[in-house]
């Protein structure tokens, strides 16, 4: 069996090699595909903190993905139409600057995660799944009816937002940016998991009664995990919208929340690289099988079924020979 740290480095290296090869082979579309995988991975790394360490099966993480997307869309829309954004007594100019957009996306989704988490964490199990789903759907339907920002048609952003010192329209440069964000999120997960907070959160997933008995509040631990998780998924949303230069209500769809969970299960729940492997597989299947049939999800379903039935630790579990944490 292979040590998990080796797998982690191999996967990360793979994510660098493929786009670099594509660059030398002049295959820009492959770079875009890799960027898509990186961003889905980033969103799932966010979810994995809540789901994998905290045991919070959120079926509403599309809310944060979409909020990140709309944070980008709205700010960039006001910038490209030269209309200021009126927020009650405040008037804010739009912006095409990625750092500001990211910060906005992170703050907005963290705040939303705080409110959603505060209400949802009163419940557990299937009720938690349902209430997070309901919150996700609220955002979905709100975005559909919000005609100021395109409603159902969404918003197109004509030119990708800028980052100081980079030309983000060059695929490999934008990829580098997204890959760096992914590495940063992975680093956060890794640090968190080993920290006192991670120890307590991981115990709160397994035995909330134990955590209370040693004098800690399991709900507070989970709430904070949910906020960090939502913030990372929100950042992924902002970048994802920038990749497509388009944001629409589909970013809020519950299918997306479900896909993020599927990615994690395929790769390995709670495993550092689980979401990354899951996203890579997902995008690869989507591309190659999608070329043959519109029904490629069937095959994804088969893989998911096999993993759930025979390999509870996902791909990482198969490779390391260790079952994953139980959620």
């Amino acid at each position: 069996m292979i040590r998990e740290s080796y797998i982690n480095w191999i996967v990360l290296a793979g994510f660098l090699v493929v786009p670099l090869w594509a660059l030398s082979a002049d295959e820009p579309f492959t770079i875009t595909l890799a960027t898509r995988a990186v961003l889905l991975a980033l969103a799932a790394v966010g979810l994995n903190i809540a789901l994998g360490i905290g045991g919070l099966v959120s079926l509403g993480h599309a809310a944060f993905f979409g909020l990140g997307g709309y944070a980008m869309g709205i700010l960039a829309h006001h910038a490209q139409t030269f209309t200021p954004l009126e927020l009650g007594m405040f008037t804010i100019a739009g912006t095409k600057s990625m750092p500001i957009i990211w910060l906005t996306a992170i703050i907005v989704s963290a705040l939303a995660a705080f409110v959603i988490g505060l209400l949802s964490l009163r419940t557990t199990g299937v009720y938690f799944i349902m209430i997070t789903l309901a919150f996700g759907q609220m955002f979905f339907f709100f975005s559909i009816s919000w005609s100021a920002y395109g409603g159902e048609d969404g918003l197109s952003i004509y030119v990708r937002n800028g980052f100081p010192g980079l030309n983000t329209l060059v695929p490999i440069q934008f990829f580098g940016l997204c890959f760096t964000a992914l590495c940063a999120a992975l680093f956060v997960h890794w640090k968190l998991r080993k920290s006192p907070f991670g120890l307590a959160l991981n115990a709160a997933r397994q035995s909330p009664a134990r955590v209370e008995t040693v004098g800690l509040n399991p709900v507070r631990l989970k709430l904070l995990a949910f906020v960090i998780s939502g913030a990372i998924t929100g950042l992924a949303g902002a970048l994802f919208a920038d990749l497509n230069r388009f944001v629409s209500p589909t970013m809020f769809s519950w299918q997306l929340s479900g896909e993020l969970i599927v990615l994690i299960i395929i790769g390995g729940v709670g495993r550092l690289m689980g979401p990354v492997i899951g996203a890579a597989l997902f995008v690869t299947l989507e591309h190659f099988l999608g070329a043959f049939t519109d029904f490629w999800h069937v095959w994804l379903g088969v893989i998911l079924l096999l993993i759930v039935l025979f390999a509870r630790g996902g791909v990482v579990g198969i490779l390391t020979g260790k079952a994953g944490p139980h959620v």
């Binding site: 006192p196 991981n202 009664a209 134990r210 955590v211 209370e212 008995t213 040693v214 004098g215 631990l221």
Partner: protein
Amino acid sequence: MSEAVLETRNLHKSFGALKATDDVSIDLRPGEIHAIIGPNGAGKSTLIAQICGGLQPDAGSVHLSGRDVSGLSTAARAQAGLGRTFQISALAMEDTVLENALLGALGQSGRPWQFWRSAARRTDLLDRAMAALDRVGLLDDAEQVTANLSHGQRRQLEVAVALTLGPKAFVMDEPMAGLGTEGSKTMTTFLDGLREEAPILLVEHDMDAVFALADRISVLVYGRVIATGTVDEIRASKEVKEAYLGEEA
């Protein structure tokens, strides 16, 4: 009489028509082991839940070192100095033995909001956790995954986690449950020495252990304390024999 470390005053709890706790006033004095015995369904678990905070009493109060803790959450009561062990081990099964003990030390330190430091580098926590594991004889198994422990070792770990809290009073829910004769003996010896550190409120089914350990015994039947006294007094009590011991013997 020295002041009670842990005390319940006129606790009442009903579930519909069932009086699970009926005017229970017990106290735990420094240096003693106070055993609560009673037949199944006597309301022992309900009583413990009210003492430790899982369940709100309908009336009455719980006092720890003279302070009314009735309004506090389970976590706050633990911080105030209540060290509880569970009847069915409630450990983090996927974590190592050491991690479980570290969790206790972390709770005791009251500083779980550290995100950037490695828990394994918190030497204060590590020392505390190791010391507790050493005392229950689990030091050699520190790196084991808890799920791989034997039943008896899990009971020891339960006690070790409570030790890391350095509590003012222990509340132990059947620490001997499921232990063999040998394990029961070891645990009895261990608890015997523990009472000087902090008194123990002991809920236990194992009568040999109770009679060997307890300074005082309270007998709970249908939610009521029908007798409280020394081992000899309880053994001699006709009422207790009828209600409880007689049925078993």
